[in-house]
Amino acid sequence: MLKHILTSLTSGPVTETAPAPADPALAELAGKLDKAARARLGRSLSIREVDAGSCNGCELEIHALNNPVYDLERFGIRFVASPRHADVLLVTGPVARNMREALLRTWDATPGPKWLVACGDCAVSGGLFAGGYACVGPVEAVLPVDLRIPGCPPRPTDLLAGLLALLETSAAR
């Protein structure tokens, strides 16, 4: 164990350089954040993840953001346990009808200013599940969406680029 820690300390970081904030994402966001909100957020974001009917593929890649290679926290972005601590809801899945109510309640429990990010093709468009009896469809059919990160699932770098865009835009004066 000690040996392991020493090697980790001396071998340098395993983290990779961050991708540039996604451009389309930036453009999408620029209009949505007002000055007051930017001042409130500063350079940190707390995210509450909500699975609204995902196949769990998106969750696996969101988890990967926390691994030492992507190390999301170095950007001031972290996942929190309660919507009450969150600035952002990161929503996955084609909003299963059985999850609609829970998603709405989680959104209501999130204090403003707050943003909603639709993560993955399912959340963006309903994906393959759109049109069935069991799903509402895209998240925006239920709640206003501020940022869309497509992909099935989005790669961790795509997620990172999207979230950094959110951070950059919100921190810009």
């Binding site: 164990m1 040996k3 392991h4 820690i5 395993v14 993840e49 909500v50 699975d51 609204a52 009917g53 995902s54 196949c55 769990n56 593929g57 998106c58 969750e59 696996l60 890649e61 969101i62 988890h63 990967a64 926390n66 691994n67 030492p68 290679v69 996942f79 346990a81 309660s82 919507p83 899945g93 084609p94 299963a96 009808r97 059985n98 999850m99 609609r100 109510e101 829970a102 989680t106 994906g127 393959l128 599940f129 069935g132 009896y133 069991a134 799903c135 099935c152 699932p153 790669r155």
Partner: protein, 513 residues
Amino acid sequence: MYGEEPLFGLLNRIGTLVEGHRPWPRYRLGRDGWLRLIEGLAGNGWSLLGLWGEPKAVHAAFREDFSGDVAVVSLDCPQGRFPSLSAVRPAANRLERAAHDLYGLVAERTTDPRSWLDHDAWGVRRPLSDQPAAPVPNPGPYTFLPVEGEGLHQIPVGPVHAGIIEPGHFRFTANGETVVRLEERLGYVHRGVEGLMQGKPAAQAARLAARISGDATVAHSLAFARAVEAALGVEVPARAVWLRALMAELERIANHLGDIGAICNDAAFAFMLAQTSQLRERVLRTADACFGHRLMMDRVIPGGVATDLPERGAGLLLELVAELRKRFPPLVAIYDGKASLQDRTVTTGFVSAELVTRFGAGGHVGRASGRDQDARRSPGYAPYDELAFEVPVLTEGDVNARVWVRIREVEQSLSLIEQIVTRLPAISRGLDHPSVALDSGRGGEGMALVESFRGEILTWVRLDGEGVVTRCHPRDPSWFQWPLLEAAIGGNIVADFPLCNKSFSCSYAGHDL
């Protein structure tokens, strides 16, 4: 005595064989036959492999564990009623409740008639039946099982949990810190996969199969593909068969690594998660480099595989195996040597051998409690009959045993990958394309059993003459593991629930469909 009567002996007496069902036989039973079957189940150890509905018919699949014989039985129920199997096979109960919610089939004399997948939110009842019905006007709340006693309190958790995790509801009843009962309520992630598959050509339905449970996307795709191929009698190129196994083993390793770390993390030992998640990332990147997708989604397709291994793929995979062989054992040694970890995992979340057998639970949940079953070996499928591997089995039945089964499985999978990669070039490249076209000129019924990282997946499919799916039932291993989680947590403290839960690692999406 268990297993005295051969499964086929009984079925040949009480049922008639249905044509065109592959590779195992399907028997049509009359109502009397079905009742005889229930009697037979009570006296024999045949394990339930699945139970699924159709408008006006119900099907169930069984295996005689000793001989490996597998059979499907069907009962036409024009009145939409059938005698329940839940008294003799408790694992059938939730499947029967699901068949009721989707098809309106009523299980007579069931042990539990409550709805399961239907939360009164779809805007329709029994959506897949011949006659979907209007929703109930003012549905009452779900009734949880009653708990009585002095000093008990309830802790409701979910469907939105505190972490990055799928949704489901847990109702704990505790006496102080000790859990006296856990009741699960699932179905929140029901996306209607079975309904969406209907009427789609096999290639499109395969994309849905790949999204039943993202962490087992290769295994579910493989089960679906093999069921379709069985139905159509299609032979898959040898190279594709080997590539499929390669992907399946990569998926197994990636998930086990992630979960082993996460279990330790839930015991407040974050170091392990930091380490194993790096290894997991290594596996996913290699998968990406070799197959063009980190989770290898949509790479196994009916008829073969969607992508061949690139020229440098073999080298990358052997490098990965070498690196994991170097970096994983020291972590295992740390796991084994930390009293603070052992304190949380040893004897925690115990599941008895009797219970895993009664529920037919597979994967690490079954094998950590002594149930020596692995679909790769029995009934078995190619190319595993040509590969050397062991199926680790332990008997302690606790969180620690489930971790150790996974550790041993990682080692086995590394060896399997090495064997596959080194023998793959022997299969000629030019002549052997990675997939064949599905000849959709004939329909049929097919079934497959595939070992995912969490246990055995059963997929049953019926295709019409155009190659269009008319009914598909993918049964995730979680169906038979979720009920055991309720048993595992009893007598433990609430704070040990995350450990138990992670050591099971049941799929919500796979179960809810």
